[in-house]
Amino acid sequence: MKSDSAPIHLEARAVSRRFESPPGLSERVAGWFGTAPLPSVVRAVDLADLQVRRGEVLGLVGESGCGKSTLGRMMAGVLPPSAGEILLGGQPVMAPGPRGRKTTSRVQMIFQDPFASLDPRMRIGEALAEGPLAHGLVNAAGSAAYVAQWLQRVGLPAEAAQRYPHQFSGGQRQRIAIARALAMQPDTLICDEPVASLDVSIQAQVLNLFLELKADLSLTMVFISHHLGVVRHLCDRVAVMYLGRIVEVAPADALYAHPRHPYTRALLDSVPRLDLHSESDVIALPVPIQGELPSPLAPPPGCHFHLRCPQAQAQCRQDAPAVELVSAQHRVSCHRWREI
């Protein structure tokens, strides 16, 4: 399916999410003595705009604390945004307000840790049937056959329904988590680091499963990962986040071949390359990014990346860069992308 002509399916419009903590005792004491209290608001996601077309797999990459999981959770409708809205097929995924609830079962989420996402005291069959029964997708009489169908779809035997989570390996548990999400018959999956805790050989099995599901069920997927190789393999388009902001979005080929944002470049350079075809004995060390991620409590003014950016100039320290179009499909937020 040619995804750049498909209609926009899932959309984040100027979405922000703040996390606030009330001042603790030490902050209040410090306040009495006139010390300025530390800011206690984290802008985990700051004015994110993102569109995912129907049938597309969008990769969301960045380092820890960049906001990729927070954005993913908002897109899955499990975390209300502080501002902006998430639309699925033109409809909001959550009712408005801070206590708003998810309004649709069309989007489901898969988490990194399949140990934590399954109830250890619930048989696999019950865990898989719970949601579909509650939503009337199946009746009690048909639920066993329904569960068996989804277990087989992810490559597990139907008998797995009788067993408990601890009787499965990590890879099998992740398959169960995928089956449980699919049993809700969603058209959209948000996958948060679904293969990060798996060994390489098991990771390949689960990635192949995702490729199959994408083709067979024409799912729209958001695939959150810190692993750039995995994202390249699976995703049609990739969005790069840094300190709460989306800094670059492009088709995967273009992003990996011609990254425009200095952060994207630096991130790609810092991944150790495994060149299987070179016989040279020279060790190719990755090129590190200078410095560390600044505290998200106090992000630097202007472009968030300017402290670590080799190309930063005066303008970068003052003004946050606007989104600019490199091509119709490729957007970047950098003052200097044309020159570098």
């Binding site: 390996s169 098991i202 995967a252 810092s270 991944v271 390359r273 299987l276 060790i283 990755p286």
Partner: protein, 355 residues
């Protein structure tokens, strides 16, 4: 490059006039359970030369971390080193009592763990715990000890080290904590450092910084580094020689480039094939079917036979011996990428040509 790097092309073979700094032979670490014995490490042998970095790669449960812990005698009951030897600069470490091990650990042989908080004491300042580590092997004047702490912190890239000595572990980021753990490992200029997944918990940008720094540090100091990791890419970046472990044994070893370019063992080939880099984006990855065998019920033959696409009857009956050929070695009856004219698994030399 130093002469040590040339030596690295001879695993398991003593080179004229140069002894390995650490020599491990037939190491066996088993865990006794009520009804079974888990053979976590089952006959591991390798050598480490001064200034060389060797990668030890394997998946969860392959025994790579237990191997690393065994070198330092860090095995608790029900685990036990049941056989083999670990020689460090001529001294046998297996069988040493607690006092003997304490004298070696930290001074000649240091370890870096995946989680730096496992190394750092949360209720001591960085300076206090570095002093403790330094004074554990003999009294040093306060000023001199402090100067040494500042020196190693600077070496690992911690800015403003004099001031940071007063800081607490919780005031450091994950990457900075791991740097402090590396600094503590370097305090006594050990001959060997064992690093168990030291960058796995870190972001790629910080991982790249630490890889670069640790590579420079071991090159400068002549320390031998055993880099234990599940990640072939980091091993390829830092280690010239690689040992691939599967179900408690080293199934393949050799210069990293050669092993990655033309693996002999089907397990190594399978691991490489299952990396996303190995195939065109969007195409199915070559996957290794099944999962590793339970360590308390290893098959009689090759432990990889049940998952191996090339397995034959012999593989299930007879455990493959270690076959070596110039700078490479493998445990497989039907190794891959040997020149076609060469009789298979003969162990004859001269099959260095790779396809």
């Amino acid at each position: 490059m130093s002469e040590a790097t040339q030596l690295s092309s001879a695993p398991g073979i003593a080179v004229d006039g140069l002894e390995p700094v650490m020599s491990v032979r037939d190491l066996r670490t088993h865990f006794e359970q009520r009804h079974a014995t888990l053979k976590a490490v089952d006959g591991v042998s390798f050598d480490l030369y001064a200034g060389e970095t060797v990668g030890l790669v394997g998946e969860s449960g392959s025994g790579k971390s237990v191997t690393g812990y065994s070198l330092l005698g860090l095995i608790d009951a029900p685990g036990r080193i049941v056989g083999g030897s670990v020689h460090l600069a001529g001294q046998q470490l297996v069988g040493l009592d607690a006092a003997g091990l304490r004298a070696v650990r930290g001074r000649q042989l240091a370890m870096i763990f995946q989680d730096p908080m496992a190394t750092l004491n949360p209720v001591l300042t960085i300076g206090a715990q570095m002093q403790l580590a330094l004074q554990a092997h003999g009294r040093i004047p306060e000023a001199q000890a402090r100067a040494r702490c500042v020196e190693v912190l600077r070496q690992v890239g911690i800015p403003d080290p004099e001031r940071r000595l007063q800081a607490w572990p919780h005031q450091f980021s994950g990457g900075m904590r791991q740097r402090v753990a590396i600094a503590i490992a370097l305090l006594h200029k050990p001959q060997v450092i064992v690093a168990d997944e030291p960058t796995t918990a870190l972001d790629v940008s910080i991982q790249a910084q630490i890889l670069t720094e640790i590579h420079r540090l071991v090159q400068d100091s002549g320390t031998a580094l055993l880099w234990i990791s599940h990640d072939l890419a980091t091993v390829a970046a830092i280690a010239r020689r690689v040992l691939v472990m599967y179900a408690g044994r080293i199934v393949e070893e050799g210069p990293t480039r050669a092993v990655l370019h033309a693996p002999r063992h089907p397990y190594t080939a399978g691991l490489l094939g299952s990396l996303p880099q190995s195939s065109t984006p969007g195409q199915p990855l070559a996957q290794i079917p099944g999962s590793p065998p339970p360590l308390d019920a290893l098959p009689a033959g090759c432990s990889f036979a049940d998952r191996c696409p090339h397995a034959q009857a012999r593989c299930r009956e007879e455990a493959p011996p270690r076959v070596s050929d110039s700078d490479r070695a493998w445990r497989c009856h039907f190794p891959l990428h040997l020149a076609d004219a060469e009789p298979r698994a003969s162990g004859a030399s001269g099959a260095s040509g790779t396809r």
